[in-house]
Amino acid sequence: MQISIKLLGELHQYLPANGEFNQSKLNIPTGLTLQKILSQLKVPDDLDFILLLNGSLMQEQEYVNITPKSGDEIIIFPPIKGG
């Protein structure tokens, strides 16, 4: 199945090779957890970031349980300060 991902701010560096600017489509097996998706993107475990799934704020402890569905959108960004 396919999901959309956006990696904002500094995190664009973890975009897959087919990514453009800060977003990409990702083909993943059904049932993959958020935690596994983050691993697949090679986002380091100790990195401080915020994750939205379809616009809803996810808490870190939920990453191991939640499995996105086809067409879902994941947005990940660092807690950057404003300007």
Partner: protein, 609 residues
């Protein structure tokens, strides 16, 4: 050491200038820039005096690290009583002017009194002179820089444009063409004093330490700890737009919405993507003095764009959209035309206006127009509808020049909405318009706006990370209080706040200050310094008549739930956070610092006002 230990004092009433010693006891307590400038302002003027009166003072302050090779060490601040707010104002700018002032030998420049004719201040090291400015009065910032530097291209100039001369309430001071001490109307104060510009050349240098070689190595080592600069460099501050729009904290159409459905047309990607004519808005990035980050945007407007097609003077590259500008001159007005917003931003730089307050006021006027409070007759025929790029450009031109309905926009949203009996439509605190974060999904930012000493501001606290991780108000008051103190300290060093987001921690700042300043500056001391500054600013505001009732938010943020995003259904819970904030500050329930708090910080107890 990196205080020059000298103040340049200029009295515009008597037209006399003199150099005096810096009060080093105050430097040890308030460090420099924001802190030290605020201390001098508080000690030297009656906070109840009118912002545009001769009694107000205008202080240009550098920090101990201004002019050094510490990354971003080129900042200065303009401290005064704000024309927009009536509160203490402290507007911070980069570019090269601040470093030049410091290298001319001065920590502070204190302007007092009022001239009867336009003048500008010429500084070449210790040779200081007030000169006639009648030939540049009425000129834009850009023309003023060209004319005043005609004989010396190395001069660094800070000036006001026609907006400051016309006493536009949100006029700013612009230096180096497109860096600005932007907020709170410091340019109107300069205009009221009939001081057009300050032109400075500084070659005196400064001594950082007895061992300058060791000093250089320390700076290089600490600069190398800025390991997280790529994001700012690649996308500028505009990187934030995708984040706030995704989160639901991008104020849109005067905060009626919190997500802008056309944000993709004005974000960092749009700035870097060729349009249908093959034109790309972004030309390159830019850095201020000594900065290794380089977040600045240098942009070009498509020459075919309606705003400039008959105006070749705007076809060149100049300072482009930052996140705040793109919000205020974009999403806040519902405008999704990046070249129109860039043009309005150019005009802000050229005529000397704060784009945040300009955009916020236009957004309020657009809502007034759409709800029938303003008519075509009021606006001189301009259809001030949300989303109209043409209206945005036209009303910005009129405001810049002080013409037509632009004269009313120049009052700022608080006075404009008051005039038309709809004060609830002004998205402001203490008269200063919101920055680019909505206080419903970002509860801590709402508290930061409400309690900011200079009115609504995103740079007086740093609750970003905490807010993005939770909308629960638990812990927000503490995060806001602690970060307000930390920011007050960093604003007093001569460094840019973005170093904090690029890798420096409090210990890095301490190491830098210890390299250039006498005394021992540990983390406890610098935070206490920040807290002292915050409480001093509060004392100024209390004496100016601003207290607890001004620590509030517009009704929309307190009563109208956010319609979408992470904060959907939420209003800001200021009523629950404010008492805790006061308690953490050591303030009484009525918002006055307690006698114990003031004594602990070495401040005078005078709470009779």
């Amino acid at each position: 050491m990196s205080w020059q230990r000298l103040i340049l004092r200029v009295n515009l009433t008597t037209q006399k200038c003199h150099i005096e010693s810096l009060n080093m006891d105050w430097a040890q307590q308030y460090l420099g820039q924001r802190g030290l400038g605020s201390k001098y302002l508080f000690e030297e003027m009656d906070p109840a005096a009118g912002a545009l009166s001769a009694e107000n003072k205008l202080i240009f302050a550098t920090g101990p690290l201004t002019g050094t090779m510490a990354s971003t060490g080129g900042r200065y601040s303009v401290i005064t009583k704000g024309a927009l707010t009536g509160a203490i104002a402290c507007s911070n700018s980069g570019g090269k002017f601040g470093a030049e002032l410091k290298l001319a030998g001065f920590d502070l420049l204190i302007i007092e009194g009022q001239s009867t004719r336009p003048v500008y201040l010429s500084i070449e090291n210790e040779i200081v002179e007030l000169r006639d400015a009648s030939h540049v009065w009425g000129k834009t910032v850009w023309d003023t820089e060209i004319l005043l530097s005609a004989d010396d291209s190395l001069l660094k100039i800070a000036s006001i444009g026609p907006a400051g001369e016309n006493l536009c309430r949100f006029a700013c001071v612009v230096n180096d063409r497109h860096r600005a001490a932007g907020r709170s109307g410091v340019g109107a104060v300069m205009g009221a004093k009939k001081l057009k510009a300050i032109a400075v050349r500084g070659t005196r240098g400064m001594l950082c330490d007895d061992n300058s070689h060791a000093c250089k190595e320390i700076f290089q080592s600490i600069n190398n700890r800025l390991t997280n600069q790529q994001g700012y460099r690649r996308n500028g501050t505009l990187a934030m737009m995708d984040i706030t729009n995704s989160f639901g904290s991008l104020p849109t159409r005067n905060n009626q919405q919190v997500q802008f459905e056309q944000a993709a047309k004005i974000n960092a990607e749009a700035m870097q993507t060729p349009n249908r004519n093959g034109h790309t808005n972004l030309v390159t990035n830019a850095a201020c003095f000594a900065c290794t980050i380089g977040c600045g945007r240098i942009c070009k407007i498509d020459p075919a764009h309606f705003s400039i097609k008959d105006k070749p003077q705007y076809h060149g590259a100049s300072g482009g959209l930052e996140y705040e500008t793109a919000y205020a001159l974009g999403a806040a007005c519902g405008v999704a035309d990046i070249d129109a917003s860039t043009y309005a931003g150019f005009l802000c730089n050229e005529y000397g206006m704060d784009p945040i307050s300009l955009g916020g006021t236009i957004a309020a006027a657009m809502e007034m127009f759409e709800t029938g409070i303003l008519s075509d007759t009021d606006t001189g025929g301009i259809k001030l509808e949300f989303g109209s790029a043409e209206a945005l450009c036209e009303i910005t031109e009129l405001t810049a020049k002080g013409e037509g309905f632009g004269q009313q926009i120049a009052m700022g949203s608080k006075l404009l909405t008051k005039k038309y009996d709809c004060p609830e439509l002004s998205m402001s605190v203490k008269g200063q318009e919101f920055a680019a974060y909505d206080g419903r999904s970002m509860q801590g930012m709402g508290l930061a706006y409400a309690t900011s000493n200079r009115g609504a501001c995103h740079l007086r606290a740093a609750p970003y990370g905490h807010d993005f991780k939770s909308t629960d108000i638990q812990g927000k008051a503490e995060v806001v209080k602690i970060s307000q103190d930390e920011v007050a300290f960093i604003d007093s060093t001569g460094l840019c706040l973005f170093t904090g987001g690029s890798g420096w921690s409090l210990s890095d700042y301490c190491e830098l200050i210890n390299t250039v300043c006498e005394g021992v500056w540990n983390e406890q001391r610098v935070i206490e310094t920040g807290e002292r500054i915050w409480n001093l600013e509060r004392q100024f505001n209390l004496q100016a008549g601003l207290g607890k009732k001004h620590d509030t938010l517009p009704r929309r943020i307190l009563e109208e739930p956010a319609k979408s995003g992470v904060g959907k259904g939420l209003v800001n819970k200021l009523g629950e956070m404010l008492p805790e904030y006061y308690r953490l500050r050591g303030w009484e329930e009525d918002g006055r610092p307690s006698e114990e708090t003031l004594k602990r910080l070495g401040l005078k107890y005078a709470n009779q006002y």
